[in-house]
């Protein structure tokens, strides 16, 4: 297998692994945050505005970890610098 094949294989496999492994922890964290927020709303329904707003902002911050993984896998697939380097050679 030449260099280009190795780069393609590595990029594609790692793109899958990146998004697969990288989304595990944010999914667990978001689920936990959502469960906590729901029980908090159940206990204090009159505070639900504040809780929901904080939940959204918090979820976005947790989710950004998964988004980083997604961006990295997209870069590996569609804007791979090593691919361009080896095709130019």
């Amino acid at each position: 297998m030449d260099n280009l094949g190795i780069v393609a294989l590595g990029s594609i496999v790692m793109a899958g692994f990146t998004i697969a492994i990288g989304s595990i922890a944010p999914a667990l964290g978001e689920g936990r945050a959502l469960a906590q927020a729901l029980s908090a709303i159940a206990q204090q329904p009159d505070k639900s505005n504040t809780i929901t707003r904080t939940l959204f902002v918090g979820l976005a911050m947790v989710e950004s970890t998964a988004i980083y993984c997604f961006v990295v896998s997209m870069i590996l697939l569609f804007a791979n610098p090593f691919w361009n380097y080896f095709t130019r050679q």
Binding site: A60, I67, F78, A79
Partner: protein
């Protein structure tokens, strides 16, 4: 599906000297023109009566909502922050919501735009902080618990700017990419659902971007206020309506 639009920078409409008119620039100006001309048309004849026109009503709801959100998040007078945070929200929300228009590439799905917006926040946080506390007191916040926290505070400031940029870019870019991939194998009906979901995420992302900017600015401007409040709480021990942050310490 050989043409996955990972960035709207690649779509070039024309060149003029060293300036390249790619989709990001063109649609950014389009959104700006839309917002400016729209609000100019509405605010040209405002009526103070109890029956405002429907467009005036829309603007009042928007501005009032933004003011109350800023007030709730920062626990401060929203007037100073409204122009900056409100502009961020309106621009991102308009750019994201217009993505349902066929042929419109949202400028927020390019890392250049989001990096520029995040840089604005990065510059605005110290400006607001210095404006409220003065230079020395603001810089002292970086060594607030101990001197050891200085590198962590600096790295935190940089990394949250990066996070702001990449979060908005990733969310908007994922919308377009997923739509493009779905059109490849289920061209009927399913992409519409993704577009509807994209509207929701677009609005939420605009809200989150503005709110996070406000939270960062508030964290730079508030620290001094809390110590002052604590001092005044220590002096006058029982005032009935105290801010929740101050009362939980007592």
């Amino acid at each position: 599906m050989d043409e996955i639009p990972i960035s709207s920078d690649d779509l070039v409409f024309g060149r003029w000297g060293v300036v390249t008119f790619n989709a990001t620039v063109v649609f950014t100006w389009l959104v700006m023109v839309l917002l400016v001309v729209g609000s100019w048309l509405v605010t040209r004849r405002l009526s103070p009566g109890t029956r405002p026109s429907r467009w005036q009503n829309l603007l009042e709801v928007l501005v009032g909502g933004m003011r109350s959100q800023i007030q709730e998040v920062s626990q401060q007078e929203p007037g100073v922050y409204l122009p900056f945070v409100g502009t961020l929200f309106l621009y991102i929300a308009a750019a994201n919501l217009l993505s349902v228009v066929p042929g419109f590439h949202p400028p927020t799905s390019s890392l250049s735009t989001t990096a520029a917006l995040a840089t604005c926040v990065f510059v605005a946080v110290p400006l607001f902080g210095i404006g409220r506390h003065g230079l020395v007191d603001y810089l002292r916040q970086y060594i607030r618990p101990t001197l050891f926290m200085l590198p962590f505070n600096i790295v935190g400031e940089l990394s949250r700017t990066l996070a702001l940029a990449v979060r908005l870019y990733g969310n908007m870019m994922s919308g377009t990419v997923v739509a493009a991939i779905l059109i490849g194998f289920v061209p009927l009906f399913v992409p519409i659902l993704m577009q509807v979901l994209g509207l929701l995420t677009g609005l939420i992302q605009a809200y989150i971007f503005a709110m996070l900017a406000m939270v960062y600015i508030a964290s730079a401007t508030r620290a001094r206020q809390q110590t002052e409040e604590r001092l005044s709480v220590g002096n006058a021990s029982d005032s009935p309506n105290r801010s929740p942050g101050a009362s939980s310490r007592g």
